[in-house]
Protein backbone atom coordinates (compact mmCIF):
# COMPACT_ATOMS: atom_id res chain seq x y z
CA UNK A 1 0.00 0.00 0.00
CA UNK A 2 2.77 2.38 1.08
CA UNK A 3 4.71 1.50 -2.01
CA UNK A 4 1.75 2.21 -4.23
CA UNK A 5 1.15 5.55 -2.53
CA UNK A 6 4.74 6.61 -3.10
CA UNK A 7 4.51 5.54 -6.68
CA UNK A 8 1.43 7.67 -7.07
CA UNK A 9 3.10 10.71 -5.47
CA UNK A 10 6.10 10.36 -7.75
CA UNK A 11 3.84 10.15 -10.75
CA UNK A 12 1.95 13.26 -9.73
CA UNK A 13 5.06 15.27 -9.08
CA UNK A 14 6.68 14.19 -12.30
CA UNK A 15 3.63 15.05 -14.32
CA UNK A 16 3.37 18.42 -12.64
CA UNK A 17 6.93 19.08 -13.63
CA UNK A 18 6.48 18.02 -17.21
CA UNK A 19 3.27 19.83 -18.02
CA UNK A 20 2.39 23.49 -17.66
CA UNK A 21 4.49 26.55 -17.20
CA UNK A 22 5.77 27.34 -13.74
CA UNK A 23 7.25 30.51 -12.32
CA UNK A 24 10.79 29.74 -13.46
CA UNK A 25 9.67 28.87 -16.95
CA UNK A 26 7.59 32.02 -17.13
CA UNK A 27 10.59 34.04 -16.02
CA UNK A 28 12.74 32.35 -18.65
CA UNK A 29 10.12 33.19 -21.24
CA UNK A 30 10.03 36.81 -20.09
CA UNK A 31 13.81 37.02 -20.39
CA UNK A 32 13.78 35.45 -23.82
CA UNK A 33 11.09 37.86 -25.01
CA UNK A 34 13.06 40.75 -23.59
CA UNK A 35 16.20 39.68 -25.39
CA UNK A 36 14.24 39.23 -28.59
CA UNK A 37 13.01 42.80 -28.30
CA UNK A 38 9.34 41.83 -27.96
CA UNK A 39 8.69 44.63 -25.52
CA UNK A 40 4.97 44.15 -25.00
CA UNK A 41 5.13 40.40 -24.49
CA UNK A 42 8.05 40.79 -22.11
CA UNK A 43 6.14 43.44 -20.21
CA UNK A 44 3.09 41.26 -19.77
CA UNK A 45 5.12 38.21 -18.81
CA UNK A 46 7.15 40.10 -16.22
CA UNK A 47 3.92 41.45 -14.73
CA UNK A 48 2.77 37.87 -14.36
CA UNK A 49 6.02 36.90 -12.69
CA UNK A 50 5.67 39.83 -10.31
CA UNK A 51 2.08 38.92 -9.46
CA UNK A 52 2.63 35.23 -8.85
CA UNK A 53 6.23 35.34 -7.68
CA UNK A 54 5.70 37.75 -4.80
CA UNK A 55 9.13 38.50 -3.40
CA UNK A 56 10.82 35.86 -5.52
CA UNK A 57 12.36 37.59 -8.56
CA UNK A 58 10.80 40.82 -7.39
CA UNK A 59 13.90 42.93 -8.00
CA UNK A 60 14.39 41.62 -11.48
CA UNK A 61 10.71 41.95 -12.43
CA UNK A 62 10.44 45.47 -11.16
CA UNK A 63 13.64 46.67 -12.76
CA UNK A 64 12.75 45.07 -16.05
CA UNK A 65 9.24 46.52 -15.94
CA UNK A 66 10.73 49.95 -15.31
CA UNK A 67 13.17 49.61 -18.18
CA UNK A 68 10.49 48.30 -20.52
CA UNK A 69 8.05 51.09 -19.69
CA UNK A 70 10.80 53.65 -20.13
CA UNK A 71 11.70 52.19 -23.51
CA UNK A 72 8.05 52.61 -24.53
CA UNK A 73 8.23 56.26 -23.48
CA UNK A 74 5.85 55.62 -20.57
CA UNK A 75 8.02 57.47 -18.09
CA UNK A 76 5.37 57.87 -15.41
CA UNK A 77 4.86 54.14 -15.25
CA UNK A 78 8.63 53.60 -15.31
CA UNK A 79 9.10 56.09 -12.47
CA UNK A 80 6.52 54.14 -10.46
CA UNK A 81 8.66 50.98 -10.65
CA UNK A 82 11.92 52.87 -10.06
CA UNK A 83 10.39 54.24 -6.88
CA UNK A 84 9.29 50.76 -5.84
CA UNK A 85 12.80 49.45 -6.35
CA UNK A 86 14.33 52.37 -4.48
CA UNK A 87 12.10 51.65 -1.51
CA UNK A 88 12.26 47.88 -1.45
CA UNK A 89 15.43 46.68 -3.12
CA UNK A 90 17.67 44.35 -1.15
CA UNK A 91 20.97 46.03 -2.00
CA UNK A 92 22.11 49.64 -2.01
CA UNK A 93 23.63 49.33 -5.45
CA UNK A 94 20.30 48.32 -6.90
CA UNK A 95 18.59 51.21 -5.17
CA UNK A 96 21.10 53.72 -6.52
CA UNK A 97 20.84 52.18 -9.95
CA UNK A 98 17.07 52.69 -9.90
CA UNK A 99 17.47 56.25 -8.74
CA UNK A 100 19.97 57.09 -11.47
CA UNK A 101 17.67 55.58 -14.05
CA UNK A 102 14.79 57.65 -12.82
CA UNK A 103 16.98 60.73 -12.90
CA UNK A 104 18.08 59.94 -16.42
CA UNK A 105 14.51 59.55 -17.58
CA UNK A 106 13.63 62.89 -15.98
CA UNK A 107 16.54 64.54 -17.76
CA UNK A 108 15.36 63.02 -21.05
CA UNK A 109 11.95 64.55 -20.37
CA UNK A 110 13.66 67.93 -19.83
CA UNK A 111 12.70 68.13 -16.17
CA UNK A 112 16.03 69.00 -14.53
CA UNK A 113 14.45 70.36 -11.36
CA UNK A 114 12.68 67.09 -10.64
CA UNK A 115 15.93 65.24 -11.42
CA UNK A 116 17.72 67.48 -8.96
CA UNK A 117 15.17 66.64 -6.26
CA UNK A 118 15.88 62.94 -6.74
CA UNK A 119 19.64 63.43 -6.60
CA UNK A 120 19.59 65.61 -3.51
CA UNK A 121 17.80 62.80 -1.66
CA UNK A 122 20.96 60.67 -1.96
CA UNK A 123 23.48 60.52 0.91
CA UNK A 124 26.24 63.10 0.64
CA UNK A 125 29.07 60.63 0.18
CA UNK A 126 28.61 57.45 -1.79
CA UNK A 127 31.12 54.71 -2.55
CA UNK A 128 32.57 54.70 -6.04
CA UNK A 129 31.39 54.44 -8.75
CA UNK A 130 28.14 55.83 -7.42
CA UNK A 131 29.72 59.05 -6.28
CA UNK A 132 31.03 59.80 -9.77
CA UNK A 133 27.70 59.05 -11.36
CA UNK A 134 25.96 61.23 -8.83
CA UNK A 135 28.37 64.06 -9.65
CA UNK A 136 27.74 63.63 -13.36
CA UNK A 137 23.96 63.79 -13.03
CA UNK A 138 24.10 66.63 -10.50
CA UNK A 139 26.33 68.58 -12.87
CA UNK A 140 23.94 68.01 -15.74
CA UNK A 141 20.90 69.04 -13.71
CA UNK A 142 22.63 72.16 -12.34
CA UNK A 143 23.81 73.10 -15.81
CA UNK A 144 20.26 72.74 -17.13
CA UNK A 145 18.92 75.21 -14.61
CA UNK A 146 21.90 77.49 -15.40
CA UNK A 147 23.65 77.12 -12.08
CA UNK A 148 26.99 76.96 -13.86
CA UNK A 149 29.25 77.41 -10.82
CA UNK A 150 27.50 74.58 -8.99
CA UNK A 151 27.71 72.41 -12.10
CA UNK A 152 31.42 73.16 -12.44
CA UNK A 153 32.04 72.16 -8.83
CA UNK A 154 30.04 68.97 -9.30
CA UNK A 155 31.95 67.92 -12.39
CA UNK A 156 35.48 69.12 -11.63
CA UNK A 157 36.41 66.16 -9.37
CA UNK A 158 35.75 63.83 -12.31
CA UNK A 159 39.03 65.10 -13.78
CA UNK A 160 42.38 64.06 -12.37
CA UNK A 161 44.24 66.35 -10.00
CA UNK A 162 46.90 67.30 -12.58
CA UNK A 163 46.24 69.86 -15.26
CA UNK A 164 45.31 68.31 -18.56
CA UNK A 165 44.16 69.49 -21.96
CA UNK A 166 40.67 68.19 -21.21
CA UNK A 167 40.46 70.11 -17.97
CA UNK A 168 41.49 73.32 -19.72
CA UNK A 169 38.89 72.70 -22.41
CA UNK A 170 36.31 72.04 -19.68
CA UNK A 171 37.03 75.39 -18.01
CA UNK A 172 36.87 77.14 -21.38
CA UNK A 173 33.45 75.64 -22.12
CA UNK A 174 32.10 76.81 -18.80
CA UNK A 175 33.32 80.35 -19.44
CA UNK A 176 31.61 80.15 -22.83
CA UNK A 177 28.36 79.00 -21.20
CA UNK A 178 28.45 81.94 -18.80
CA UNK A 179 28.90 84.28 -21.76
CA UNK A 180 26.02 82.72 -23.69
CA UNK A 181 23.70 82.93 -20.70
CA UNK A 182 24.55 86.55 -20.05
CA UNK A 183 22.74 87.81 -23.17
CA UNK A 184 19.27 88.90 -22.20
CA UNK A 185 16.00 88.79 -24.13
CA UNK A 186 15.27 92.27 -22.82
CA UNK A 187 18.30 93.68 -24.64
CA UNK A 188 17.26 91.89 -27.82
CA UNK A 189 13.77 93.37 -27.61
CA UNK A 190 15.12 96.87 -26.95
CA UNK A 191 17.49 96.63 -29.92
CA UNK A 192 14.64 95.59 -32.21
CA UNK A 193 12.55 98.42 -30.90
CA UNK A 194 15.09 101.00 -32.07
CA UNK A 195 16.06 99.24 -35.28
CA UNK A 196 13.95 96.39 -36.70
CA UNK A 197 15.97 93.19 -36.93
CA UNK A 198 18.81 94.36 -34.65
CA UNK A 199 17.70 92.12 -31.79
CA UNK A 200 17.68 89.13 -34.12
CA UNK A 201 21.22 89.93 -35.27
CA UNK A 202 22.25 90.25 -31.61
CA UNK A 203 20.82 86.79 -30.98
CA UNK A 204 22.80 85.47 -33.92
CA UNK A 205 19.86 84.87 -36.27
CA UNK A 206 20.78 86.60 -39.52
CA UNK A 207 17.92 85.16 -41.57
CA UNK A 208 15.15 86.41 -39.31
CA UNK A 209 16.99 89.71 -38.78
CA UNK A 210 17.04 90.41 -42.52
CA UNK A 211 13.44 89.23 -42.80
CA UNK A 212 12.25 91.64 -40.14
CA UNK A 213 14.31 94.53 -41.51
CA UNK A 214 13.02 94.04 -45.06
CA UNK A 215 9.38 93.62 -44.04
CA UNK A 216 9.34 96.70 -41.83
CA UNK A 217 11.22 98.69 -44.48
CA UNK A 218 8.57 97.80 -47.07
CA UNK A 219 5.75 98.69 -44.70
CA UNK A 220 7.42 102.02 -43.93
CA UNK A 221 7.79 102.71 -47.66
CA UNK A 222 4.11 101.80 -48.19
CA UNK A 223 3.11 104.19 -45.40
CA UNK A 224 5.03 107.12 -46.89
CA UNK A 225 3.90 106.36 -50.45
CA UNK A 226 0.23 106.18 -49.43
CA UNK A 227 0.63 109.38 -47.43
CA UNK A 228 2.05 111.27 -50.39
CA UNK A 229 -0.24 109.79 -53.06
CA UNK A 230 -3.50 109.86 -51.07
CA UNK A 231 -3.41 111.32 -47.57
CA UNK A 232 -1.71 110.48 -44.31
CA UNK A 233 -5.12 109.67 -42.82
CA UNK A 234 -5.47 106.93 -45.43
CA UNK A 235 -1.95 105.78 -44.70
CA UNK A 236 -2.71 105.63 -41.00
CA UNK A 237 -5.91 103.68 -41.56
CA UNK A 238 -4.49 101.08 -43.93
CA UNK A 239 -0.83 100.63 -43.01
CA UNK A 240 -0.70 101.17 -39.26
CA UNK A 241 -2.42 97.88 -38.34
CA UNK A 242 0.14 95.97 -40.43
CA UNK A 243 3.02 97.99 -39.10
CA UNK A 244 1.81 97.28 -35.59
CA UNK A 245 1.68 93.55 -36.29
CA UNK A 246 5.07 93.21 -37.92
CA UNK A 247 7.02 95.88 -36.03
CA UNK A 248 5.59 94.63 -32.74
CA UNK A 249 6.11 91.06 -33.91
CA UNK A 250 9.76 91.76 -34.66
CA UNK A 251 10.27 93.04 -31.12
CA UNK A 252 8.56 90.07 -29.48
CA UNK A 253 10.26 87.51 -31.72
CA UNK A 254 13.69 89.01 -31.01
CA UNK A 255 13.28 87.99 -27.38
CA UNK A 256 11.93 84.55 -28.25
CA UNK A 257 14.66 83.89 -30.80
CA UNK A 258 17.31 84.86 -28.29
CA UNK A 259 15.91 82.47 -25.69
CA UNK A 260 15.71 79.60 -28.18
CA UNK A 261 19.21 80.24 -29.50
CA UNK A 262 20.56 80.47 -25.98
CA UNK A 263 19.00 77.15 -25.02
CA UNK A 264 20.36 75.52 -28.15
CA UNK A 265 23.89 76.84 -27.61
CA UNK A 266 23.93 75.87 -23.95
CA UNK A 267 22.82 72.35 -24.84
CA UNK A 268 25.54 72.03 -27.44
CA UNK A 269 28.07 73.39 -24.96
CA UNK A 270 27.15 70.79 -22.38
CA UNK A 271 27.42 68.06 -24.99
CA UNK A 272 31.01 69.22 -25.49
CA UNK A 273 31.53 69.23 -21.71
CA UNK A 274 30.38 65.61 -21.68
CA UNK A 275 32.91 64.84 -24.41
CA UNK A 276 35.77 66.21 -22.32
CA UNK A 277 34.70 64.04 -19.40
CA UNK A 278 34.44 61.03 -21.69
CA UNK A 279 37.94 61.54 -23.04
CA UNK A 280 39.34 62.16 -19.56
CA UNK A 281 37.91 58.94 -18.13
Amino acid sequence: MKRRLLFFLCWISASGWLGGQNLEQTLAFARAQYEAGNTLTALKTYQRVLFFGGNVHRDESQSQLATLHASLGEFDRAAFYYDLIYQSAGTDSLRYEALFHKTASLMLQQQPKKALLELLALPKNLPEPWQSRKRLYLGAAHFSIREFELARQDLLPLFGAEDSAQKAEFEKLFRHAERVARKSPKTARLLSMFFPGAGQFYAGDVKNGLNSLLLNGLLGYWFVATGINYSFIDAGATVTPWLFRYYGGGIRKAGEILEAKQEERLKKTFQKVLQTIEVER
Binding site: R3, L6, C10, S13, W17, N22, R48
Partner: protein, 275 residues
Protein backbone atom coordinates in the same frame (compact mmCIF):
# COMPACT_ATOMS: atom_id res chain seq x y z
CA UNK B 1 11.55 1.33 -1.19
CA UNK B 2 15.26 2.24 -1.24
CA UNK B 3 14.89 3.65 -4.69
CA UNK B 4 11.51 5.17 -4.27
CA UNK B 5 12.27 7.58 -1.44
CA UNK B 6 15.18 9.28 -3.23
CA UNK B 7 13.10 9.30 -6.36
CA UNK B 8 10.31 11.00 -4.54
CA UNK B 9 12.66 13.54 -3.01
CA UNK B 10 14.09 14.15 -6.45
CA UNK B 11 10.72 15.05 -7.85
CA UNK B 12 9.49 16.87 -4.76
CA UNK B 13 10.28 20.38 -6.02
CA UNK B 14 8.15 19.65 -9.03
CA UNK B 15 5.19 19.14 -6.74
CA UNK B 16 5.30 22.74 -5.70
CA UNK B 17 5.78 23.85 -9.29
CA UNK B 18 2.69 25.49 -10.66
CA UNK B 19 1.44 26.22 -14.09
CA UNK B 20 0.97 29.99 -14.11
CA UNK B 21 -1.04 29.71 -17.28
CA UNK B 22 -3.49 27.07 -16.11
CA UNK B 23 -7.12 27.83 -15.50
CA UNK B 24 -7.02 28.51 -11.75
CA UNK B 25 -3.99 30.81 -11.91
CA UNK B 26 -5.25 32.70 -14.90
CA UNK B 27 -8.64 33.13 -13.29
CA UNK B 28 -7.12 34.69 -10.17
CA UNK B 29 -4.83 36.89 -12.24
CA UNK B 30 -7.66 38.00 -14.52
CA UNK B 31 -9.79 39.02 -11.54
CA UNK B 32 -6.87 40.97 -10.09
CA UNK B 33 -6.36 42.78 -13.39
CA UNK B 34 -10.05 43.64 -13.65
CA UNK B 35 -10.15 44.93 -10.08
CA UNK B 36 -6.96 46.95 -10.48
CA UNK B 37 -8.51 48.60 -13.54
CA UNK B 38 -5.97 47.23 -16.03
CA UNK B 39 -8.78 46.49 -18.43
CA UNK B 40 -6.83 45.84 -21.60
CA UNK B 41 -4.69 43.21 -19.89
CA UNK B 42 -7.73 41.76 -18.12
CA UNK B 43 -9.56 41.37 -21.43
CA UNK B 44 -6.62 39.52 -22.89
CA UNK B 45 -6.55 37.17 -19.92
CA UNK B 46 -10.28 36.49 -20.15
CA UNK B 47 -9.95 35.78 -23.86
CA UNK B 48 -7.47 33.04 -22.99
CA UNK B 49 -9.66 31.73 -20.17
CA UNK B 50 -12.61 31.45 -22.55
CA UNK B 51 -10.36 29.60 -24.90
CA UNK B 52 -9.69 27.12 -22.07
CA UNK B 53 -13.36 26.89 -21.04
CA UNK B 54 -15.46 27.83 -24.02
CA UNK B 55 -18.89 27.47 -22.46
CA UNK B 56 -18.59 29.51 -19.30
CA UNK B 57 -21.05 32.39 -19.20
CA UNK B 58 -19.46 33.99 -16.12
CA UNK B 59 -16.17 34.33 -17.98
CA UNK B 60 -17.96 35.79 -20.96
CA UNK B 61 -19.73 38.30 -18.74
CA UNK B 62 -16.47 39.38 -17.17
CA UNK B 63 -14.78 39.66 -20.56
CA UNK B 64 -17.53 41.94 -21.83
CA UNK B 65 -17.24 43.97 -18.64
CA UNK B 66 -13.48 44.35 -19.14
CA UNK B 67 -14.05 45.63 -22.67
CA UNK B 68 -16.82 47.97 -21.57
CA UNK B 69 -14.89 49.49 -18.68
CA UNK B 70 -11.73 49.68 -20.77
CA UNK B 71 -13.55 51.96 -23.21
CA UNK B 72 -13.31 49.45 -26.05
CA UNK B 73 -16.95 48.33 -26.28
CA UNK B 74 -16.57 47.62 -30.00
CA UNK B 75 -14.21 44.75 -29.22
CA UNK B 76 -16.73 43.22 -26.85
CA UNK B 77 -19.49 43.53 -29.43
CA UNK B 78 -17.28 41.88 -31.99
CA UNK B 79 -16.61 38.93 -29.66
CA UNK B 80 -20.30 38.59 -28.89
CA UNK B 81 -21.12 38.27 -32.57
CA UNK B 82 -18.75 35.30 -32.80
CA UNK B 83 -20.28 33.35 -29.92
CA UNK B 84 -22.94 30.81 -30.84
CA UNK B 85 -25.40 31.22 -28.00
CA UNK B 86 -28.66 30.12 -29.67
CA UNK B 87 -28.59 26.56 -28.37
CA UNK B 88 -27.74 27.58 -24.81
CA UNK B 89 -30.00 28.69 -21.98
CA UNK B 90 -29.89 32.46 -21.79
CA UNK B 91 -27.93 33.73 -18.79
CA UNK B 92 -29.44 36.83 -17.25
CA UNK B 93 -26.03 38.09 -16.13
CA UNK B 94 -24.47 37.69 -19.56
CA UNK B 95 -27.38 39.26 -21.41
CA UNK B 96 -27.52 42.05 -18.85
CA UNK B 97 -23.86 42.82 -19.47
CA UNK B 98 -24.44 42.62 -23.22
CA UNK B 99 -27.23 45.19 -23.03
CA UNK B 100 -24.93 47.51 -21.06
CA UNK B 101 -22.26 46.98 -23.69
CA UNK B 102 -24.77 47.96 -26.40
CA UNK B 103 -25.66 51.13 -24.50
CA UNK B 104 -21.99 51.93 -23.96
CA UNK B 105 -21.03 51.13 -27.54
CA UNK B 106 -23.50 53.52 -29.17
CA UNK B 107 -26.35 51.09 -29.93
CA UNK B 108 -29.15 52.21 -27.61
CA UNK B 109 -31.93 51.08 -29.99
CA UNK B 110 -30.50 47.56 -30.07
CA UNK B 111 -30.23 47.53 -26.29
CA UNK B 112 -33.88 48.53 -26.01
CA UNK B 113 -34.95 45.77 -28.42
CA UNK B 114 -32.86 43.21 -26.56
CA UNK B 115 -34.37 44.18 -23.23
CA UNK B 116 -37.97 44.18 -24.39
CA UNK B 117 -37.91 41.17 -26.70
CA UNK B 118 -35.52 38.57 -25.32
CA UNK B 119 -37.53 37.40 -22.26
CA UNK B 120 -34.36 37.23 -20.17
CA UNK B 121 -34.58 40.43 -18.19
CA UNK B 122 -36.73 41.10 -15.18
CA UNK B 123 -39.15 44.00 -15.38
CA UNK B 124 -37.01 46.50 -13.50
CA UNK B 125 -34.01 45.71 -15.71
CA UNK B 126 -36.17 46.26 -18.81
CA UNK B 127 -37.49 49.59 -17.57
CA UNK B 128 -34.01 50.85 -16.77
CA UNK B 129 -32.53 49.79 -20.10
CA UNK B 130 -35.39 51.45 -21.98
CA UNK B 131 -34.91 54.67 -20.03
CA UNK B 132 -31.16 54.78 -20.69
CA UNK B 133 -31.71 54.00 -24.37
CA UNK B 134 -34.25 56.81 -24.69
CA UNK B 135 -31.89 59.24 -23.04
CA UNK B 136 -28.87 58.24 -25.13
CA UNK B 137 -30.96 58.65 -28.27
CA UNK B 138 -32.04 62.07 -26.96
CA UNK B 139 -35.74 61.12 -27.22
CA UNK B 140 -36.63 63.27 -24.24
CA UNK B 141 -40.42 63.03 -24.33
CA UNK B 142 -40.21 59.26 -24.49
CA UNK B 143 -37.58 59.26 -21.74
CA UNK B 144 -39.92 61.25 -19.53
CA UNK B 145 -42.62 58.59 -19.99
CA UNK B 146 -40.12 55.79 -19.38
CA UNK B 147 -38.92 57.44 -16.21
CA UNK B 148 -42.49 57.88 -14.94
CA UNK B 149 -43.03 54.14 -15.43
CA UNK B 150 -40.19 53.25 -13.08
CA UNK B 151 -41.65 52.94 -9.57
CA UNK B 152 -39.73 54.48 -6.69
CA UNK B 153 -39.35 50.97 -5.26
CA UNK B 154 -36.96 50.19 -8.13
CA UNK B 155 -34.26 52.29 -6.44
CA UNK B 156 -32.99 53.83 -9.65
CA UNK B 157 -29.59 55.36 -8.89
CA UNK B 158 -29.27 59.14 -9.34
CA UNK B 159 -32.93 59.44 -10.16
CA UNK B 160 -33.22 63.19 -9.50
CA UNK B 161 -30.22 63.90 -11.73
CA UNK B 162 -31.77 61.84 -14.52
CA UNK B 163 -35.04 63.68 -14.04
CA UNK B 164 -33.32 67.07 -14.25
CA UNK B 165 -31.45 66.12 -17.39
CA UNK B 166 -34.64 64.90 -19.10
CA UNK B 167 -36.35 68.17 -18.27
CA UNK B 168 -33.37 70.09 -19.62
CA UNK B 169 -33.51 68.03 -22.80
CA UNK B 170 -37.21 68.70 -23.27
CA UNK B 171 -36.65 72.43 -22.92
CA UNK B 172 -33.83 72.49 -25.47
CA UNK B 173 -34.47 74.76 -28.49
CA UNK B 174 -32.43 74.57 -31.69
CA UNK B 175 -31.73 77.28 -34.26
CA UNK B 176 -32.90 77.20 -37.91
CA UNK B 177 -29.95 77.49 -40.33
CA UNK B 178 -32.10 78.78 -43.24
CA UNK B 179 -33.51 81.54 -41.04
CA UNK B 180 -29.98 82.59 -40.07
CA UNK B 181 -29.00 82.96 -43.74
CA UNK B 182 -32.24 84.83 -44.54
CA UNK B 183 -31.57 87.29 -41.72
CA UNK B 184 -28.05 87.91 -43.04
CA UNK B 185 -29.27 88.99 -46.50
CA UNK B 186 -30.52 92.44 -45.48
CA UNK B 187 -28.16 92.99 -42.55
CA UNK B 188 -24.77 91.24 -42.71
CA UNK B 189 -24.05 89.54 -39.40
CA UNK B 190 -27.64 89.44 -38.17
CA UNK B 191 -27.90 85.69 -38.79
CA UNK B 192 -24.83 85.14 -36.63
CA UNK B 193 -26.35 87.25 -33.88
CA UNK B 194 -29.47 85.06 -34.08
CA UNK B 195 -27.26 81.95 -33.86
CA UNK B 196 -25.70 83.13 -30.64
CA UNK B 197 -22.41 84.31 -32.17
CA UNK B 198 -23.13 88.01 -31.72
CA UNK B 199 -19.49 89.07 -31.59
CA UNK B 200 -18.81 87.36 -34.92
CA UNK B 201 -21.95 89.08 -36.23
CA UNK B 202 -20.62 92.52 -35.33
CA UNK B 203 -17.27 91.75 -36.93
CA UNK B 204 -19.05 90.57 -40.09
CA UNK B 205 -21.00 93.80 -40.29
CA UNK B 206 -17.84 95.81 -39.70
CA UNK B 207 -15.76 93.99 -42.32
CA UNK B 208 -18.44 94.12 -45.02
CA UNK B 209 -19.35 97.69 -44.12
CA UNK B 210 -15.81 99.10 -44.13
CA UNK B 211 -14.89 97.46 -47.42
CA UNK B 212 -18.11 98.60 -49.10
CA UNK B 213 -17.64 102.13 -47.80
CA UNK B 214 -14.00 102.22 -48.97
CA UNK B 215 -15.02 100.93 -52.41
CA UNK B 216 -17.81 103.48 -52.75
CA UNK B 217 -15.46 106.27 -51.66
CA UNK B 218 -12.85 105.30 -54.24
CA UNK B 219 -15.41 104.95 -57.04
CA UNK B 220 -16.84 108.37 -56.14
CA UNK B 221 -13.39 109.95 -56.22
CA UNK B 222 -11.75 108.22 -59.15
CA UNK B 223 -14.55 106.67 -61.22
CA UNK B 224 -14.11 103.08 -62.44
CA UNK B 225 -10.38 103.56 -63.09
CA UNK B 226 -9.30 102.72 -59.55
CA UNK B 227 -7.16 99.86 -58.35
CA UNK B 228 -8.11 99.99 -54.66
CA UNK B 229 -11.79 100.50 -55.46
CA UNK B 230 -11.95 97.15 -57.21
CA UNK B 231 -9.87 95.46 -54.54
CA UNK B 232 -12.23 96.65 -51.83
CA UNK B 233 -15.27 95.62 -53.88
CA UNK B 234 -13.78 92.16 -54.26
CA UNK B 235 -13.21 91.88 -50.54
CA UNK B 236 -16.71 93.18 -49.83
CA UNK B 237 -18.30 90.64 -52.17
CA UNK B 238 -16.28 87.74 -50.73
CA UNK B 239 -16.98 88.77 -47.16
CA UNK B 240 -20.69 89.25 -47.87
CA UNK B 241 -21.02 85.75 -49.38
CA UNK B 242 -18.91 84.41 -46.54
CA UNK B 243 -21.32 86.05 -44.13
CA UNK B 244 -24.38 84.38 -45.74
CA UNK B 245 -22.71 80.99 -45.59
CA UNK B 246 -21.23 81.69 -42.16
CA UNK B 247 -24.66 82.45 -40.66
CA UNK B 248 -25.91 79.03 -41.85
CA UNK B 249 -22.85 77.37 -40.41
CA UNK B 250 -23.10 79.31 -37.15
CA UNK B 251 -26.65 78.01 -36.62
CA UNK B 252 -25.48 74.46 -37.38
CA UNK B 253 -22.53 74.84 -35.04
CA UNK B 254 -24.85 76.11 -32.32
CA UNK B 255 -27.14 73.09 -32.73
CA UNK B 256 -24.29 70.63 -32.91
CA UNK B 257 -22.77 72.06 -29.77
CA UNK B 258 -26.06 71.86 -27.85
CA UNK B 259 -26.69 68.28 -28.95
CA UNK B 260 -23.13 67.24 -28.18
CA UNK B 261 -23.19 68.93 -24.81
CA UNK B 262 -26.35 67.09 -23.86
CA UNK B 263 -24.85 63.89 -25.21
CA UNK B 264 -21.81 64.34 -22.99
CA UNK B 265 -23.98 65.06 -19.98
CA UNK B 266 -26.11 62.02 -20.67
CA UNK B 267 -23.11 59.77 -21.10
CA UNK B 268 -21.45 61.15 -17.99
CA UNK B 269 -24.59 60.36 -16.05
CA UNK B 270 -25.67 57.07 -17.61
CA UNK B 271 -22.38 55.23 -18.23
CA UNK B 272 -21.28 55.16 -14.57
CA UNK B 273 -24.70 54.00 -13.33
CA UNK B 274 -24.59 51.02 -15.69
CA UNK B 275 -22.32 49.28 -13.16
Amino acid sequence: MKFLIPAFLFFLPALSAQDLYDYAHSRAYARYLLQSQQYALAAEEYERLIFLKPDNDTLRTELLRAYRRGNTPEKGLQQWSKWQLESRPKSRLLFGEYSKLLLRGGFPAEARDLATQSNVFDSSQIRRTVLYADMLEQKWKQANVSLAQIPLSDKLSRRTDLEKLIQKGQKQKLKKPWLATALSVPVPGLGKVYSGAWKDGIISLLFVGVNTWQAVRRFDKEGTDTFWGWIHSGFALGLYSGNLYGAHKAARRYNQKKIKQLQHETEALVFPVLD
